[in-house]
Point group: C2
Chain length 162, copies 2
DNA sequence: CGGCTGGCTTGAGATGTCCATAGCCAGGAC
DNA sequence: GTCCTGGCTATGGACATCTCAAGCCAGCCG
């Protein structure tokens, strides 16, 4: 077990040409939310849709695909499948964001906002703003101590078995 | 042109079952960085790789795919293809993040950190920390006025032609 | 000149993700 | 019981993306 520190940006410690530190965390996350349907399901869950039919209609995907992706999202711990019963109805299931799912919201809104800024839709304009002050919202980096973190202050450290 | 406000979360204004406000910004962004190779190329560009051969080797993808994705990323304004010349060499090109590309870094690191937290790699451990204080780094939302923005303080407002 | 290297391009085949359509099942409503 | 609805599952085909393998071109090196 060797320990390697990757200091960003530009001052990158590497051994050979292999990406150290990360290796495959981005890959693994992408296995879960790296497809259109999963990301749109996540968006709709964030917007407040919970029921299967609702999700299918809003995402605009077939039931087969929605079913498959929802299963994967539940397995990955992004969504939870919870029973609920409306009066006079049988027990059904709804899909709600787990705490881990909520942690993906900055990523989701980062993608949304980036598209709004850099790939504008010619047929309509969208703004993502802060409810209190009306200013534009963007994804940023913050550390657990509450500091704003700039790109060059990020350290990715990996204890990678070799 | 009608204007609709989508207030999150749970207190969502909708008309019918169509997602308002966003419509397709997430989709459009996903056209650019919604595939494994593009995201990994972005990661390596962030880590400091610039040359074609370097990117190919580190991402672990074939030259054909790398060439294709790099072209798309350049077309989308995420990377810039710049000429450079090492002494005694002919002019070559390097790929560097544009300002728009740098704006995707919080998204990229958000995905990375989410994978580190929720999909741990059994063969090694990785940490993403703040250089100054050593605390864990995560993606968060911040508005242009500098406020921290919570999930339920986000307003997505769309002027959507119908 | 011919060889080598970096930076691609092209083609064939595997795999993944999508859509459309159809069908299954449980449990109220009748 | 039969119908209907919500929530899936199954099949087939289209298209995107990946891999492997081969080849092309520019320019420096000998």
């Amino acid at each position: 077990m060797s320990v390697m520190t990757v200091q960003l940006a530009g001052r990158l410690a590497r051994r050979g040409d292999v990406a150290l530190g990360d290796r495959c965390a981005v890959d693994r996350t992408f296995q879960v939310v790296g497809n259109r349907t999963a990301m749109l399901l996540l968006r709709e869950a964030f917007y407040g849709a919970t029921r299967f039919e609702q999700l299918v209609k809003r995402v605009g995907v077939t039931e087969a695909v929605a079913s498959q992706r929802l299963k994967e999202l539940v397995a990955a711990g992004v969504l939870a499948k919870q029973p609920y019963r409306e009066p006079g109805q049988r027990t059904r299931f709804e899909y709600v964001l787990t705490p881990a799912g909520h942690e993906l919201v900055p990523v989701l809104l980062g993608l949304l906002q980036w598209g709004v800024r850099h790939l504008p839709d010619p047929t309509g304009q969208v703004a993502v703003t802060h409810d209190g002050c009306g200013a534009e919202v963007r994804a940023a980096l913050r550390c657990a101590d509450g500091h704003d973190v700039e790109e060059d202050e990020v350290v990715i450290r990996g204890d990678v078995a070799r």
